[in-house]
């Protein structure tokens, strides 16, 4: 899952980057509104964490422009402004959720995951794929009731395909959603991770559409 963190306080942005990365997200950071718009326009993010008080272009304007451009990306507004008018304004501009600073990271994480699940159309936190289950909150994966250890990128790939099950996902899309801009990787890493997941969870879980991508059947 790839996330854009828009935050002008450099320390907080850095903290969120390393904490979210540790949770298996691919994280990009934008320090001002212009950068945020540019990045959101060039990458198909799974969620955006947006501060409202931003240099150059303020957060509400960023949000309004994203929505005006037809973006459906889930946006969580994270700001120190806590008046109900601010919350109403943000939600009415197109925000999906609102969290005030100071916050606990666990809550931020839970909200981001909920936003991503809802956006993918499967709000249940437990995904069942035949004998395989995926707990999105804890990244716990089992096969026939037995825990299976997955590397973070393997899990990210599995979760993305599982959330979009029934839909063909191209290699490029998969790559975009499990890596952030700092990762420089070769194009065949997706195939390598798919092979690893198949080895651990069975050959039939992920089906290959030759020349196009991968799909987990519904």
């Amino acid at each position: 899952m790839r996330i854009l963190v828009v935050e002008d306080e450099p320390d907080l942005a850095a903290t969120l980057h390393k904490a979210l990365t540790e949770e298996g997200f691919a994280v990009d950071v934008a320090g001002d509104g212009e950068d945020a718009l540019w990045q959101a326009g060039s990458v198909n993010y799974d969620a955006i964490v947006l501060d409202l008080m931003l240099p150059l272009v303020d957060g509400l304007t960023v949000l309004a422009r994203l929505r005006a451009a037809g973006s459906r990306v889930p946006v969580l507004v994270l700001t120190a402004r806590d008046s109900s008018a601010e919350k109403v304004g943000a939600l009415n501009t197109g925000a999906d959720d609102y969290l005030t600073k100071p916050f606990t990271f666990a809550e931020l994480l839970a909200r981001i995951r909920a936003l991503i699940r809802r956006a993918a159309g499967s709000p249940a936190p437990l995904l069942r794929l035949g004998e395989v289950t995926i707990e999105t909150s804890s990244h716990r994966v089992t096969r026939a009731g037995v825990d299976v250890e997955l590397a973070p990128k393997e899990y990210a790939l599995l979760e993305y395909l599982a959330l979009h099950r029934g839909k063909l996902v191209t290699r490029t899309t998969l790559h975009e959603h499990i890596y952030d801009e700092r990762d420089a990787t070769m194009s065949n890493v997706v195939d390598v991770y798919v092979a690893a997941v198949r080895r651990k969870l069975g050959r039939d879980l992920i089906r290959t559409c030759r020349g196009e991508g991968y799909i987990i059947d519904a």
Partner: protein
């Protein structure tokens, strides 16, 4: 007294109306009485003159009233008919129309009222004295009729005036009800309410004045709310950074280098919070007037050198050149506060300047004044932001607000504090700037 203004005004109005009406009615009745009596006197006088001229002495000391029979017919017939009596010059009764009238000689010419009768006494040329009298019943009757008519008419007029005034007062005082209801409905969450002003009369002006007062209250309230929101924002942001960093550091085992990084993040956040809290405390004490200012001789030039030397390391780091120039400028003031003022201005200038920019802190004197100037060659402040730079938490350019500044500078309170320090020394602070032209802060203090 009733508590309603309407009832009280009505009571006063009715009382005054009643007094005026009664006075008028009394005057009218009195003048009707007067003219009735005057008319009667005139008639009786004419009769007396006629009778007087009709008295003829027959030469033997006897008198005869030489008058046509018809002229006598009117006298003494009915109760209310006129009556007469005639005396000779020596006071002996010559004739009278009715045997029961008082035969006492009345003396000289006069008109008198006796026993509800009016009597006119005339002394003719011959010396004969003639009295003609008549009952006042007719005059009384007309006075009574007038009194009754005035009383009834007056009562109707009073009632009409009373109800008319009740209605008019109701209409005139209705805006007071509206004003009261609006003021009653006004509350913290409802400060936008205004009285509907439709007239230009006294109440309209009261309503307009109240509306203006409400505007000012709302403005002050909103300023306060904004200030509180800004203050909490300034505290929540570093707090959020600190908590998130600590959560990350404690989530799982970390290396010593990672711990050190976390501690640095927490330290920076704590310093920012300290700057905000100190700034807020200073301004809160300033607002309460609870800050005692020392008064001693201070050289602004020496303070400026001190501040610039202390800020040099930070400025060098940012590639900003700092220097001082000018002559000694002695003022009487609080050296710590003045140092804070200069520090705020210098670090503000350094903070908003880019690599290669210059910040010059100069001092000079003018008659009765010492002048300190801090000017930079930075990006300048736009005309829209210029009037607000001394407001608490106002930031012209948020992009640079996170850069490390000195004292409360980074918290958005530095210039507000500087303004307070200048003003509490009896001086003032000015800001001149334009985008791309750099910025100049001028502090003028009484020497």
């Amino acid at each position: 007294m009733p508590s309603s203004l309407r009832a009280r005004l009505l009571l006063w109005y009715s009382a005054v109306f009643l007094v005026v009406l009664s006075t008028f009615a009394a005057l009218a009745v009195w003048s009707i009485w007067r003219s009735g009596v005057d008319d009667l006197d005139e008639r009786l006088g004419a009769m007396a003159a006629q009778l007087g001229s009709a008295v003829v002495a027959d030469g033997t000391g006897r008198f005869e009233v030489n008058l046509a029979e018809a002229a006598f017919a009117g006298f003494g017939e009915a109760d209310d008919a006129p009556y007469y009596a005639i005396w000779s010059a020596d006071g002996s009764l010559i004739d009278r129309s009715d045997p029961f009238i008082d035969a006492a000689f009345p003396g000289g010419s006069t008109a008198r009222t006796r026993d509800e009768r009016r009597e006119v006494i005339v002394r003719a040329e011959s010396g004969t004295v003639v009295l003609v009298g008549q009952s006042l019943a007719e005059v009384y009757a007309s006075v009574w009729a007038a009194t009754t008519a005035l009383g009834l008419g007056g009562a109707v007029a009073v009632l009409l005036a009373f109800f008319g005034a009740w209605l008019l007062l109701g209409r005139a005082l209705a805006p007071i009800g509206r004003i009261a209801r609006t003021a009653e409905a006004m509350s913290e969450s409802n400060l936008g309410l205004r009285i509907d002003v439709s007239t230009d009369d006294e109440l309209g002006r009261v309503a307009a004045a109240l509306n203006r007062a409400f505007d000012r209250i709302q403005e002050a309230f909103e300023r306060q709310t904004r200030f509180t929101a800004d203050a909490s924002h300034e505290l929540r942001t570093p707090l959020a950074s600190q908590i998130a960093e600590l959560e990350w550091a404690l989530a799982r085992p970390r290396t010593p280098a990672e711990h050190e990084g976390s501690l640095n993040v927490c330290m920076r956040a704590a310093q920012r919070m300290r700057a905000v809290v100190e700034g807020l405390l200073t301004l809160a004490r300033a607002d309460a007037g609870a800050v005692a200012m020392q008064r001693e001789e201070v050289d602004l030039a020496a303070l400026a050198r001190e501040v610039v030397d202390a800020s040099r390391a930070l400025a060098d780091q940012r590639g900003v050149h700092l220097r001082t120039e000018g002559m000694p400028a002695i003022v009487r003031g609080d050296p710590d506060r003045l140092r804070e003022l200069i520090t705020n201005l210098v670090s503000n200038a350094a903070q908003y300047s880019a690599r290669g920019d210059e910040v010059i802190c100069s001092t000079s004197v003018a008659p009765g004044r010492a002048i300190l100037e801090v000017r930079d060659t930075g990006p300048g402040i736009g005309a829209a932001d210029l009037p607000h730079v001394f407001e608490r938490f106002y930031r012209a350019n948020k992009a640079r607000s996170r850069a490390v500044g000195g004292a409360a500078g980074g918290a958005g309170l530095g210039l507000a504090i500087s303004k307070w320090i200048a003003e509490s020394h009896g001086g003032r602070i000015l800001c001149e700037s334009a985008l791309g032209q750099g910025t100049r802060f001028t502090v003028e203090l009484p020497a």
